[in-house]
Symmetry: C2
Subunit: 403 residues, 2 copies
């Protein structure tokens, strides 16, 4: 028996389980799976670039599904590139752009961007690109005055998230866009909208956004498929090479069952957009303020009210250590992540929590919980009942030491 199997045996299966780690891994909606199955077994499994009945039928299917996916963004389906993941979309946006636009050498990103954005930008250091990091306020909001100052005539790209994935900050993208485009309309504006898609209105037809990342798995669609919106006229080059097919920017990506699932997930999320939003906001507030009120020495990470993502709960429990938090919660059937999901295996505090001024020990002692339409009020009640005991136990073990 491996170490991990041993651990699972010791852990056991809790009587009640509440999954709140949607940002790191997710089931698909049952209806999404039902929409995918025919394309695994019998329908439109061909290559949409091939000239025979199955190929044509797959091409027709492909075009119809891309229309469905692009509809809530109110953009032309032709302006959507399908990729394998939001990570790939972010890399394509940044690196694919630098392959086409030579000359300007500065990329501006905020310090709370997802690591796929920050690392993709920094990977260009060896090609003499400069990456300028925009600071944020203590609720994670980008500083627009500093953005204004940082823009110069060497600036190629500004990449700013629509919603922060960890502390739920809804960024002032409209204002940032105005600042950027007013100063120099040639500057390309990318937004990583992965955590915003399906949560806030993203009508790209009305904005000057040039590039936007969005993904299937964050709205109960299958993993392995995502999108990049590319405004007409913006040129990108693929970040890896292959055969020429329908998706020029991600060779070999065409995948009918995943596309069917993505389209169905979009349909379900947007058919009930307001209802899902209200449901998650209600549970979010109940959980966030409930934990804050009932447990001593807690700090809410990220903004309050309308400036917070409908589905995001992030709270620091002082005197607790991150791994103890997720493990002790897990023993009680509550599944959440600690610090940053991205860095949970390397014991580094979340770069986002340190950016908003949390000390390393506060960042380590944080829990990130995300809520979606599959979560119920009963589940949130269970978490609210249970977490005081979880925190009490951790604090008693560490001797209540003020870390």
């Amino acid at each position: 028996m491996s170490h991990i199997q041993d651990l699972l045996k010791q852990h056991g299966v809790p009587k009640k389980e509440v999954y709140l780690d949607w940002i790191n891994g997710s089931v698909v909606d049952k209806e999404v799976l039902d929409a995918m199955i025919p394309y695994y077994l019998e329908k439109d499994y061909g290559n949409p670039a091939i000239t025979h009945r199955i190929g044509w039928s797959t091409l027709d299917f492909y075009e119809r599904k891309k229309r469905q996916i692009s509809k809530p963004l109110k953009v032309d389906p032709q302006s959507i590139a399908i990729t394998h993941s939001f990570t790939e979309s972010n890399n394509l946006a940044i690196k694919g752009l630098t392959k086409m636009y030579k000359g300007r050498k500065k990329i501006i990103v905020s310090e709370v961007e997802h690591l796929s954005v920050i690392h993709a930008a920094k990977s260009l250091f060896d090609q003499n690109y400069k990456v300028d990091i925009l600071p944020v306020s203590n609720d994670g909001t980008i500083n627009l005055d500093i953005l204004q100052e940082k823009i110069d005539n060497d600036t190629l790209l500004v990449s700013l998230q629509s919603i922060n994935h960890e502390i739920g900050t809804i960024q002032p993208i409209k204002e940032a866009l105005e600042i950027v485009k007013d100063k120099d309309e040639k500057i390309i504006f990318h937004t990583d909208a992965t955590s915003a898609f399906g949560r806030i209105d993203l009508d790209f037809s009305k904005t000057e956004v040039d590039l936007a990342t969005f993904s299937s798995n964050r709205i109960l669609g299958p993993k392995g498929i995502a999108g990049l919106y590319i405004k007409e006229g913006i040129k990108l080059k693929s970040i890896y090479e292959g055969q020429l097919s329908v998706e020029i920017l991600a060779p070999d990506v065409e995948n009918s069952p995943l596309l069917a699932g993505f389209a169905k997930a979009v349909e379900l999320q947007f058919a009930n957009f307001e209802q899902i939003k209200n449901h998650t906001i209600k549970l979010r507030d109940k959980l966030l303020y409930g934990l804050h009120t009932s447990i001593e020495r807690t700090d809410i990470n990220g903004p309050a009210g309308d400036r917070r993502a409908p589905d995001n709960v992030n709270i620091s429990f002082l005197g607790c250590e991150g791994e103890a938090l997720t493990v002790e919660s897990s023993m009680n059937g509550i599944y959440a992540s600690s610090g940053s999901a991205c860095t949970s295996r390397v014991l580094m505090p979340s770069h986002i929590l340190t950016a908003i001024g949390r000390k390393p020990e506060e960042a380590h002692g944080s829990l990130l919980m995300t809520i979606n339409r599959l979560n119920t009020e009963d589940q949130i009640n269970y978490v609210l009942e249970t977490m005081p005991k979880v925190i009490g136990r951790i604090r008693s073990i560490t001797g209540g030491i003020e870390l």
Copy 2:
């Protein structure tokens, strides 16, 4: 109604349909889908890097499935990197290597490699890499004498397919490896084994292969997942950046249902390896020689007998044009691809068929058919009965002109 819907309506659904375009698109085996479904809905849907019960359980699942996938290659599961596609694996092998090994600047590939290998190598021109193209014989076999000559002390990498994807040539990889490693054991050897995996014995524990690409969708597993074998000691860098997780070389790739499907496809293919091989060889020979015998002015592309992939049929019909061939075959329910799948939408002759000395008109007039265990003898009989009529009709339309 779109142009393509119009085309589909005109085409109709033939009474009998035989799919022989497995190389370009494929259903999954029913058992494969059954193995995937629990992971879409309820099991091990977490992120294997996260420390809670679902995360640990997903990690345990992940390790077990990677063991299953690596078993037929007889290598350590730790030496397998999971990627999204064989295209990504080929790019990772080539570009990921050049990011780690500085100094040497020459890459040797054959002229019949898949375009993902040739284009990935050529994309390094702007970093001063040289790509040296190895010629092949008229059955597509790499020229070992010229390989010997081309190797020099600037050679970083030799990348040669195990089996050609289009004309089925089984390459003398063992001999090529000996030549390369005898001359300089520092040279890295990559083989694109996408069309070989599940078809011929690939025991990498006994060879000096450093890197090998293999894929799920070519053995009736789901698309969206593939592998790269990386010999212990060989260092690669990812070709795009993201969060740190289990798969260091392809951030964000972890996908439980696709991994479950890949593992099941491997299990099914290798449990019945000899039986599947004998079945496809029997149908291959019946189809290949049947078409060649019954239809005038045909040329078989690729080698005969044991040096040909068990599942590959490729034949040129002189006096026929490629699109007419696939379309007229399709009207009769026979689905195959023409020239090269990779280039079927751009009217360029296959680079593989021109490499083996076919004139452009011969390359255009070729049909590629692949056979797998879902195909039956009855289907092959139907193709043999029908194709003479298909070819007769095309030749009568073009007036029997000697193209």
